[in-house]
């Protein structure tokens, strides 16, 4: 049988959208019978996450004409994934999600090439991410979204007038679900709000005060968290609690039951124990399908221009009817992540070590364990050890010298941000200006202006 993957009849339906002109399309849409093939050849898409959204995304993208797809996920398949992650079967439990998902989609859609990456998103270097034309997120964690967002925004460059350079924009399409609800959004760094611009859309989870758990428990969840957060440590000195170990979970459940009985509280079940301890978010196939489809469609529209683009945030709520709302959020112009960079003024004598210390105390940044890169050159790397050793000697030199005496430029730093209790990996773009050597411009007016 002839190779069906390249038979144009197969793609009859997508081609109608890509080959025919229309009046409600993107600005740069150039309809052509070969547009789908061109996209297949040229566009490289990264799917982050191979779970509920990721499985759907890979299928949707493969059937939208994309041929070069990578997928990254550090997780392995669990039984509780099978009610929605349709690429996995019971016999796949324990295997890499990314690898199994890639294999299954390639088997069914010939001609598509999916490269799996069974690792953490932080394990990949920036060049890895820079190779993609667009990044699609199917994640359930705020931290992971924030990280990828900072990576993609890190590629963004601004011109002298603080206008984003279009060719450096790396679009992100992000989806998320919880039960019957979900969101899809398009992030064009520098043009539409990035994840950090609208971080308030994801309020942090409320935790129970420890004194409630210890002294005045009232609900089943209080008893469970007491067993999990207080009693476990008291009994198992130093042995860390592992939420994936059924014996640990059983122990917490039994302790929670005892405590509930003591206080006359009802409602502790094993299922609730798991839910509270692991912070389980309910998830169903239909919502994942809807949100992923919206994301895949936006990806196709951004890459091909075949229609207007979502501008820029869609919420879906299926709890009462089918309610969709699109909100056009606006950018934070001084966003630490997608803006032109935090302005930092330094003395010409500031050494790299002093600079790194300064980042820790900088109230906006609070960035510890910083690695510093200037124009692709590693000035100081915290890890791996070999790089650390190679770059350690730079610490004593003046930063101005390490930057080849350029008085004003952008520097990239990566490290951990946040306060003591919660630190997350992050990347930051900084605009460093050296006092007194500014090129003809007095530095007086930069002190207060931002």
């Amino acid at each position: 049988m002839a190779d069906l993957s390249s038979d144009p009849r197969r793609w009859r339906d997508v081609d109608k959208l890509l080959a025919r002109p229309g009046n409600i399309v993107g600005q740069d849409f150039e309809p052509s019978p070969t547009l789908r093939e061109d996209i297949g050849e040229i566009a490289r898409v990264l799917v982050v996450g191979a779970g509920g959204l990721g499985c759907e995304l890979l299928k949707d993208l493969a059937l939208s004409g994309f041929k070069n797809i990578d997928v990254i996920d550090m997780d392995t398949i669990e039984v509780s994934n099978l009610n929605r992650q349709f690429l996995f079967r019971l016999q796949d439990v324990g295997k890499s999600k990314a690898e199994v998902a890639a294999e299954r989609v390639m088997k069914r859609v010939s001609g598509v090439n999916i490269t799996p990456h069974f690792c953490r998103i932080e394990d990949k270097d920036l060049d890895f991410y820079n190779d993609f034309n667009i990044i699609v997120l199917g994640l359930d964690s705020i931290e992971a979204r924030s990280y990828i967002n900072s990576v993609a925004c890190g590629f963004l460059e601004y011109d002298a007038d603080d206008k984003p350079l279009l060719e450096t924009i790396k679009p992100i399409v992000d989806g998320g679900t919880e039960g019957f609800k979900g969101h899809a959004r398009v992030i064009l760094p520098g043009r539409t709000p990035c994840f950090e611009c609208n971080i308030w859309l994801f309020p942090p989870q409320v935790k129970f005060p420890l004194c409630t758990l210890a002294e005045t428990p009232r609900t089943a969840a209080h008893c469970i968290e007491y067993a999990h957060l207080i009693k476990w440590g008291e009994v198992h000195h130093g042995k860390p609690f592992d939420p994936d170990d059924p014996e640990h979970m059983q122990w917490v459940y039994a302790e929670a039951l005892k405590r509930a009985e003591l206080f006359g509280i009802t409602g502790v079940t094993y299922s609730l124990t798991q839910g509270v301890v692991k912070n389980i978010i309910p998830a169903i196939a239909s919502t994942n399908a809807v949100i992923s489809a919206a994301c895949a469609l936006e990806t196709l529209k951004i890459v091909s221009g075949c229609s207007k683009t979502l501008s820029n945030y869609l919420t879906y709520n299926g709890m009462e009817g089918t309610h969709i709302k699109v909100t056009d959020f606006i950018r934070e112009t001084d966003c630490l992540v997608c803006g032109p960079g935090t302005l930092i003024e330094l003395d010409t004598s500031t050494t790299l070590l002093q600079f790194i210390r300064l980042l820790e105390e900088h109230p906006k940044l609070l960035l510890s364990k910083a690695s510093v890169t200037y124009r692709g050159k590693n000035l100081y790397m915290q890890s791996p050890p070999i790089l650390e050793e190679m770059t350690r000697s730079n610490l004593q030199f003046a930063l101005l010298d390490l930057m080849d005496k350029v008085a004003k430029d952008t520097i990239h730093v990566s490290g951990m941000s946040g306060k003591n209790d919660k630190k997350t990996s992050c990347l930051r773009k900084l605009r460093v200006v050296f006092k007194g050597v500014a090129d003809g411009i007095t530095n007086m007016d930069t002190t207060d202006s931002s």
């Binding site: 049988m1 069906l4 009849r9 197969r10 793609w11 009859r12 339906d13 997508v14 109608k16 959208l17 080959a19 025919r20 002109p21 229309g22 009046n23 409600i24 299928k59 949707d60 059937l63 939208s64 039984v79 509780s80 009610n83 929605r84 349709f86 079967r89 019971l90 859609v109 899809a184 409630t212 005045t216 428990p217 009232r218 209080h222 006359g264 509280i265 299922s271 389980i280 309910p282 998830a283 169903i284 239909s286 919502t287 399908a289 809807v290 489809a293 469609l297 196709l300 229609s307 207007k308 979502l310 501008s311 709520n317 299926g318 709890m319 009462e320 009817g321 089918t322 969709i324 699109v326």
Partner: protein
Amino acid sequence: MTVAETKKTKYDRQLRIWGEQGQSALENANICLLNCGPTGSEALKNLVLGGIGSITVVDGSKVEIYDLGNNFLLDEDSLGQSKAKCVCSFLQELNDAVKAKFVEEAPEHLIEKNPSFFAEFTLVIATQLMETSLVKLDKICRQANVMLVVARSYGLTGMVRISMKEHTVIESKPDHFLDDLRLHHPWPELIEFAKTVDLSVTDPVIHKHTPYIVILINMADKWAKEHSGCLPSTRQEKKDFKDLIKAHMLSMDEENYKEALEASFKVSISRGISSELLQIINDTAVEVDSKSPDFWVLVAALKEFIENEGDGEPPLEGSIPDMTSSTESYITLQKIYQAKAESDCIKMEQRVKGILKRIGRDPDGISKAYVKSFCKNARKLSICRYRNIEDEFTSPCLPELQKCLNDEDYSFAVGFYILLRAVDRFAANYNRLPGIFDGGLNEEISRLKPIAVGILNELGLNGPTLSEDLITEMCRYGGAELHAVAAFVGGVASQEVIKLVTKQFVPLKGTFMFNGIDQKSQVLVL
């Protein structure tokens, strides 16, 4: 892991949403899918993953090469075979607990020749069906009391709608709903308990662990005494009431008092039921007879309850939210609310028995569990009624249609609604959808336009027009079923099926119009 444990773990993430009861409703459902293109296949895929009981896939076509470009459930080995058979076998592979069957026959043919075929199903999902067949199917399903969900994908648009006489929901599970604390209308046992607590206690530990329910009941009592029996109602009074609460704080960081301030409006809620509930208890279906569904028997009982022992209020829900409190006070309060809820429920049961007797049914014919669930959700009942499709097509709600046509956000959605009907008429005239062939698109546009305008005129809409650009889009789509659009539309359809089958949450009340251009999809209630 045993088989039962594996099943429980597999469905864990959805059991947390619809519970064992919802799950068993799904497992007892028998679903029929008409046409298994990507829209239908994706809808069914989501249901099969969730453990739907039985499925029957109906499609008369063979797999062709273009099916491989938009349907993941088909692969190269399927070419030339029955589409229904291939889709069915892939679905079976997804979940072996599901009983999967297929019928290799065109749905239009079944609708025409064998209407009794549909009677055995819980619900029919009709996809990619043209208007004439759809109208016939709607009549068949209504006659046989089978729920109908309609889904269609077309280029960058699509639609999902439900059709059935009536769908009643007890467990509507709204996202945000005011708790049922009755601070505006407390009952004697609650007042009595509140009075045993001294708000002026000087021990700071006891003071900051007094639950806000107790604080507010005592404060409201105090207020009423000073205001000739009235509760705060004007803006100024509500502010003064808050000041009264504040005056009792020992320090500004007492969480329980902060909660009391935040909830202080609850003492001022007017007595009685919401207008939505009033409409339900005044519905004509409340005049029950021996053929009335259990739901309406319960509503009849609810009406009696509200008018009698309820003193204008529905049965108490019986649960309280977590609040800053000592364990003891909280548990005591919990028990007081539970006891009242139970006693309300017993009174409702008696009324239900009385009504059943009166209409000539077994007085024990409705289970206690059903009555209990009804009482717990009495404030949140929801009723959806759907016009039959033919009626809507011949006489839609014109003011609504007019309003949508003139509304910028709705104009694409309603335009597509008209155009989806127009392409069916086009197909009836020309024996093909507009724009299925490359070339000659301008001619197609000039053929489709008068048809669309004709529909508007027939409906009596002579003023507003459809955007030319949208008509052009429709011809550009050429009947394409894009996978991403099909996955979206199919996904929405399966979501609605789940809500209908589990009888939980509130289903779609009109026609969901997918707008894939800027994603501003809308629901049209016509």
